[in-house]
């Protein structure tokens, strides 16, 4: 499913003069199944971009078409369906439930679609180096471990697009590469694309498309 942007300009960024390369106030299409890197420094609107695509905010001018449907016309029910089967996200602030265990956090997401068995989920954790944290409450994990839990959680559903809002900010290069490999595998398996926002690093990955703010 393609995402088409038509002269989108978020209200909080109205006062800023955007460069000609900026995605704001320009027309472009994110083709289905492509891997996109959105690179920008702080305050340029990376989280705003993620928030708009995930339906968390609608304070923008212009138009975004999800397939052939205008994003602003989505109802609550449309968004709920979309968040279960079309778009998945790793929030910058992770949005885990700190008092729940890793297992419970992941089960909460997986229960919506039953995409994986508990063993399969645990294998993802092991792959990312957090297999031993299964029964631990998330509030007792380090930020890097929590980021990996959030990444696994985002993969536990079918999706066309995966939005990754600075998902590796607390991970070293090695763990970042492992995570990106898993993300890439899952996206390839689903024929889905991802949009990774980053503060500048390309994380040694070859993207299909790069966006600037």
């Amino acid at each position: 499913m393609d995402i088409q942007f038509k002269k989108v300009n978020p209200h909080p960024l109205n006062a800023i003069q955007h460069s000609s390369e900026s995605i704001w106030n320009s027309d472009f299409v994110l083709k289905s199944g492509t891997k996109v890197l959105l690179n920008a420094s702080s305050g340029k609107g990376k989280s705003t971009f993620s928030g708009i695509l995930f339906g968390l905010r609608s304070d923008y001018e212009g138009s975004i078409l999800f397939g052939d449907k205008e994003l602003k016309s989505f109802t609550k029910h449309d968004w709920t369906t979309c968040r279960v089967s079309k778009i998945s996200i790793v929030f910058q602030d992770l949005q885990l439930f700190p008092e729940l265990t890793v297992k419970e956090n992941l089960e909460l997401k997986n229960n919506l679609t039953n995409s994986f068995s508990l063993d399969e989920i645990q294998r993802f954790n092991q792959q990312l180096g957090i297999g031993d944290k299964w029964e631990q409450k998330c509030q007792f994990l380090s930020m890097g471990q929590q980021q990996r839990v959030a990444i696994v959680r985002a993969l536990l559903q079918p999706f066309d697009w995966l939005i990754l809002d600075e998902p590796f900010s607390h991970l070293d290069e090695e763990n970042t590469t492992i995570c990106l490999d898993l993300i890439n595998q899952r996206c390839d398996a689903l024929g889905a694309g991802f949009i990774l926002t980053s503060l500048g690093s390309k994380h040694q990955f070859s993207y299909d498309h790069k966006l600037k703010l």
Partner: protein, 392 residues
């Protein structure tokens, strides 16, 4: 797991206080409604006069004996009474304007005859079946309602004659006759007792028979209205009583005592009902406020669940069903406690010689259900509004 997230951050003491409030409120609400119904029903069907009905006459004083004041009612006086807000209706009691005597006509009962005074009360004021209370020329008998004092007098006569006394039911089977006469003619008609009254001191007959007697055997001078029927509003006997005192009217004492008691108990129960209603609605309001507080405290959890893909309807259902179960449990316990208290109170009434109906009043069940349904409705509206507002 979702419940674990949604119902954490609860301040249980506030919830317990609200639920205790709801429990007490519902118990007292049910008791007050149930006993209001039963007290209002008390006395209905026990006599021929309908509820809240009085037969009154003017007080007889020395002045009236000397013909200085009137003891009869003018139409103007009757109209003034009707205009009072606590009086539903006023009707004159018609009396016979012809000579009539009452006599036994049964071989099993010794002959007994006495001149009597008969009266007619409009059917609307009587608590009798309308198909029994009519008469036309050619009918085999005239139905009549006998004052119980009259039966006592008859039994005294029977006893003195060495004949066994008769019960209410047997009296209804004994054959009696009315003898109507004037200077020109005499007629005897069969009479059947269909009921007894403690409230009226004269023999009651259907209005058609009264008309017949007055037309065929009536005297020329017009009969004065010396008694009237007053139908008062429910639980406003105090006002009716004050008015009667003011106007120099007097009812039969027993009627007034029952009416006064019903009025006092009715007022007390209304007070309890009002307080209970306030208690129930206050506790429901506290519960609804508690739900709002809970949703607000778990704002992050709800928002995150919605972002993960959980639908608003599921969250609304989880929260709403939790509180319905809680309040439903309190309602069921309240209802059981109400039934237990009711059994105890009924036993106390029976011991005290007050035979109220013991069957559960349907109105109390309706009030109970309405309270619960109102809670379900308003709590649903609040939960729906608050959860939807968290959808971002």
């Amino acid at each position: 797991m979702i419940n674990k997230l949604l119902f954490k951050n609860q301040k249980k003491s506030q919830l317990v206080i609200a639920l205790i409030g709801a429990f007490l409120g519902i118990v007292f609400l049910l008791l007050s409604v149930h006993y209001s119904v039963r007290i209002n029903e008390f006395g209905k069907g026990a006599d021929v006069l309908g509820p809240n009905t009085l037969i009154v006459q003017k007080q007889v004083t020395n002045a009236s004996t000397l013909n200085l004041t009137k003891t009869d009612f003018s139409l103007e006086e009757i109209n003034k009474l009707i205009q009072e807000p606590f009086i539903k209706d006023v009707q004159p009691v018609q009396s016979n304007n012809f000579d009539v005597s009452f006599e036994t006509s049964d071989p099993l009962v010794p002959y007994f005859r006495t001149d009597v005074f008969v009266q007619t009360i409009p059917i609307d004021f009587l608590d009798v079946k309308t198909n029994e209370w009519n008469w036309k020329m050619g009918d085999p008998y005239v139905p009549m309602i006998m004052p119980r004092e009259f039966l006592v007098m008859l039994n005294t006569f029977m006893s003195a004659s060495g004949i066994p006394q008769i019960s209410d039911d047997l009296a209804k089977e004994v054959k009696f006759k009315f003898k109507l006469w004037n200077d020109d003619k005499t007629e005897r008609v069969n009479v059947k007792i269909i009921g007894f009254t403690n409230e009226v001191s004269s023999i009651l007959v259907p209005s058609s028979f009264m008309e017949y007697g007055n037309t065929v055997f009536g005297k020329t001078e017009r009969k004065k209205i010396t008694q009237i029927l007053i139908l008062g509003e429910e639980n406003q006997f105090g006002l009716v009583e004050s008015l009667m005192q003011k106007r120099g009217l007097e009812p039969k004492n027993s009627q007034l005592i029952v009416g006064r008691l019903k009025s006092i108990v009715g007022t007390l129960l209304f007070l309890v009902f009002s307080i209970s209603l306030v208690a129930v609605f206050s506790s429901f309001l506290v519960l609804i406020q508690y739900i709002q507080l809970l949703l607000s405290k778990n704002n992050y959890e709800i928002k995150t669940l919605l972002r993960l893909g959980y639908g608003t309807n599921l969250i609304i259902k989880k929260v709403h069903v939790y509180f319905i179960k809680l309040v439903g449990l309190v309602c069921c316990v309240s209802f059981l406690v109400f039934l237990l208290i009711k059994i105890l109170i009924d036993q106390l009434f029976v011991k005290g010689g007050l035979y109220l109906g013991t069957q559960l009043s349907s109105l109390s069940v309706i009030v109970f259900l309405i309270s619960f349904i109102l809670f379900i409705y308003f709590s649903f509206r609040i939960v729906k509004k608050d959860v939807n507002s968290l959808f971002v």
